[in-house]
């Protein structure tokens, strides 16, 4: 298997805007054609040329849209989202299911996308942080994080928001113990936890608004 992603910056690696969430995808052939339905991105991103890995074209349903993407066998869902689809809102923290900064919602359930193989996520409905806003209106959880400043540096925030969204979808009025338990895997190095709890309480109160 390939070494860790940190050492995988191959010559073919594209440069992606990291933080603005704009779905700009740069393909390995140098063109900047955005990925859309029916398009396949070719080439292996980030893997040294001397490591042959099986590849496959898979269809991933992300934020309600089907994308045909070329993935390597060892590619995580997070890598596919970030490197193939340019959806860089989901963050790579530990890459070991320890921090949950990469949390996305798969078929209604919060999952760590760093620890799922993209190739196994075909046929599932994947929702990322980019899929929450509707026509310029933030979701209740996003609005709660704004209103209650549920962040400091913001790196863990997409994961926190997706985890809270999955919780409220299943239980729109959780008590504090339920919120704390549901959020227990999402680490915040800035320790913005009190404000995160306030943000989720806000979202719960505004869930049907």
């Amino acid at each position: 298997m390939a070494p860790s992603s940190a050492s995988r910056a191959g010559s073919a690696s594209p440069l992606l805007d990291d933080d603005d969430g704009a779905a700009t995808v740069v393909t390995t052939d140098g063109s900047d054609t955005p990925v859309g339905e029916g398009d396949a991105v070719t080439g292996v991103i980030g893997v040294p040329d001397n490591v042959p890995l099986p590849e496959a074209v898979v269809t991933l349903n992300v934020n309600g849209r089907d994308y045909r993407v070329n993935v390597t066998a060892n590619m995580s869902l997070l890598e596919a989202l970030r490197q193939r689809l340019g959806l860089t809102g989901s963050k790579l923290g530990c890459d070991r299911s320890e921090c949950s900064a990469c949390t996305v919602i798969v078929d209604g359930v919060a999952m760590n996308s760093c620890s799922l193989l993209a190739i196994r996520e075909q046929g599932k409905q994947i929702v990322t942080i980019e899929g929450l806003e509707r026509d310029g209106v933030l979701s209740p959880v996003q609005e709660g994080f704004v209103q209650h400043m549920g962040l400091q540096c913001g790196f863990c925030t997409p994961g926190q928001i997706m985890q809270a969204t999955a919780l409220l979808q299943q239980n729109p009025a959780p008590d504090e113990a339920q919120v704390r338990r549901a959020m227990s895997g999402n680490l915040c190095k800035c320790s913005a936890y009190p404000n995160i709890l306030s943000a989720i309480r806000y979202a719960s109160e505004h869930w049907n608004a």
């Binding site: 298997m1 070494p3 860790s4 066998a73 060892n74 995580s76 890459d95 070991r96 299911s97 949950s100 949390t103 359930v109 919060a110 999952m111 760590n112 620890s115 799922l116 193989l117 196994r120 985890q163 704390r180 338990r181 549901a182 227990s184 895997g185 680490l187």
Partner: protein
């Protein structure tokens, strides 16, 4: 998988993918180049309770599904709580019971490429002379890992059986015989060899007089962590009178540790503070702490006392 030492089964993948990313394979283990998805096997995630037959679990039932199964919550609360105590919510959503009990140990020397330890096929245990705060206090030899699972002690406390499929066909054994220590084979933690699969977990219906408890001591309180010590306890009792006791700890030894001496001390007795202290002391009599982990002896004793009290409450 049997013919190809580079093939490995993958279920939830939480532990396996982390292991691959750490790239820790030593001389004792080939680098895996083929993952075989076993989630596609029909019925492998079943959770089935029958009053006469007991509880049957497919090894691919997720920890989350087991924790929230009404029958498990009602009849096997020690298992529901153990499943819910493991890992984090997102890992429990994909992590399976089979994966939880078969996961590799967390020893920081084992999981670091720079230390060629016994478990990687080397010839030294770096914890003996190094940092051993989280290592074994019981039954360590050669290698001083502790078994990392929360679910395993609960299964043992419930007298569960494992059914495995090997080259010779199917075999069923109690979990007491499923986990193996470093003296038997330092390269693995259970009976499974290359190509073998755990195919079924089964446990009897508990006695109507059984009380259960699962307690996990961990370094970090509100977020998730591996157990420093955990204990799963099932006590069959009439009031203060103990008929039978099943007490299994993890986080203390290379395999889940059945506290036989404590069980023997409690069986047939009337519960009292003195009896509980005596039983807990007997269980830890053979503890041999290392330089930094003697604190686990006290925690283990206290957890045994507390868990028996809780199970009988």
């Amino acid at each position: 998988m049997r013919a190809n030492p580079e093939a490995r089964p993958i279920a939830g993948g939480s532990d396996l993918l982390g292991w691959i990313k750490e790239d820790v394979q030593g001389t004792g283990e080939p680098r895996w180049n083929l993952l075989v998805d076993i989630r596609t096997i029909p019925g492998s995630d079943e959770i089935r309770f029958d009053e006469a037959d007991g509880l049957t679990l497919g090894p691919l039932a997720t920890l989350d599904a087991i924790e929230h199964s009404p029958e498990v919550q009602d009849r096997y609360p020690v298992l529901s709580r153990a499943a819910g105590a493991a890992a984090s919510p997102n890992i429990r959503h994909v992590g399976t019971i089979g994966g939880n009990i078969n996961q590799r140990p967390r020893c920081w020397y084992l999981r670091n490429t720079e230390f060629d330890c016994y478990k990687k096929g080397g010839n030294f245990c770096f914890a003996v002379t190094g940092k051993n705060e989280y290592h074994a206090i019981l039954n360590g030899e050669l290698c001083y890992i502790v078994h990392p699972s929360d679910a395993a002690p609960a299964l043992m406390a419930l007298h569960a059986d494992a059914t495995i499929r090997t080259a010779d066909g199917e075999q069923t054994m109690p979990f007491d015989e499923y986990f193996i220590g470093p003296r038997q084979d330092v390269l693995r933690e259970n009976v499974l060899q290359q190509g073998d699969l755990l195919t079924r977990i089964h446990m009897p219906t508990p006695s109507p007089n059984a009380g259960m408890s699962f307690i996990k001591a961990q370094r970090r309180g509100e977020t998730y962590d591996f157990a420093v010590v955990n204990v799963a306890t099932v006590i069959v009792h009439e009031g203060d009178q103990i008929e039978d006791a099943s007490i299994v700890l993890s986080g203390v030894a290379p395999t889940p540790f059945r506290a036989v001496a404590a069980e023997d001390a409690l069986r047939g007795q009337t519960v009292s503070d003195g009896l509980l202290q005596q039983a807990a002391g007997a269980a830890l009599l053979r503890a041999r702490p290392m330089t930094e982990n003697a604190y686990k002896v006290g925690i283990s004793k206290n957890l045994i006392v507390r868990s028996v009290r809780e199970a009988m409450a």
